[in-house]
């Protein structure tokens, strides 16, 4: 399947689910800053890759797919878990990309903060997409 956008999927997300993700993201950013202040940047840096949002995201994926399938009279439980597993597999590949993000920040941020953040994000995206394409060929 080609990569594509499905804007209709946003209609499945309730406003309180957007609010939960916003609150979790905000809370984790405050927490990461507090950890770095209290224990130093070496410990704080670890928590920049803490899976704070992931449990909520993967649970929503399972719930939405299960509901959609059950509305069509299909067995939604199994499909929900399969969709959540695919989401988790993608996050594992994105985690590999995040190693590149951290390395780029370490190497470049003392030269130019803006360049480091842009380059690190671009490298995260590149590594993640390449890893995803590689695993897709592997599983095909």
């Amino acid at each position: 399947m080609m990569v594509h956008l499905k804007f209709g999927a946003l209609r499945e997300v309730h406003w309180h689910e957007f609010a939960i993700r916003f609150a979790l993201g905000g809370a984790m950013t405050v927490t990461a800053g507090a950890i770095a202040s209290r224990f130093g940047p070496a410990v704080g840096g670890l928590f920049l890759a803490f899976p704070a949002i992931f449990p909520a995201s993967v649970t929503l994926v399972e719930k939405h797919v299960r509901q959609r399938k059950e509305e069509k009279g299909l067995r939604g439980a199994r499909r929900g878990k399969e969709a959540a597993a695919l989401d988790a597999r993608g996050a594992a590949l994105g985690g590999v990309g995040l190693i590149g993000f951290g390395g780029t920040i370490y190497a470049l941020i003392e030269h130019s903060a803006v360049m480091a953040l842009v380059a690190a994000t671009a490298l995260w995206a590149s590594i993640s997409v390449l890893a995803w394409l590689w695993q897709r060929r592997l599983w095909a």
């Binding site: 399947m1 950013t29 993608g90 985690g95």
Partner: protein, 114 residues
């Protein structure tokens, strides 16, 4: 207090942006990449550089590499629990948390970063 509020707002916006991208992208495994997007890192590092300087942020970036290894392993563990053990997503995601802590702290201490 103002600093915490600014962090909260920037972090919330960054996470929501990447989460919405994940909502609309298909196939599902590709959307999953955004489950490990550097949303919190971007929000935090922008503020860190302006408040504590680039050297502080560079050390955070170095440790983040270790955290990212742990995140990849954690996500892989969740995937296995869902695919092989047929657990519910919320149970798998919470039960696998020790994987992140053990690998992040183990590698961090092992590499002499902590």
């Amino acid at each position: 207090m103002t600093d915490a509020l600014v962090r909260f707002l920037i972090g919330g916006l960054a996470v929501s942006f990447f989460a919405m991208l994940a909502d609309v992208l298909r196939p599902r495994s590709f959307a999953g990449l955004f489950g490990a997007a550097p949303s919190i890192a971007l929000a935090t590092l922008v503020l860190t550089v302006s408040q504590r300087g680039a050297a502080f942020a560079a050390i955070e970036g170095r440790s983040m590499m270790v955290g990212a290894v742990a995140l990849a392993a954690y996500s892989g563990a969740v995937c296995l629990l869902l695919q092989c053990r047929r657990w519910h997503a919320n149970a798998a995601a919470f039960v696998a948390f020790p994987v992140w802590f053990v690998i992040a702290l183990g590698l961090g201490f092992g590499a002499g970063l902590l």
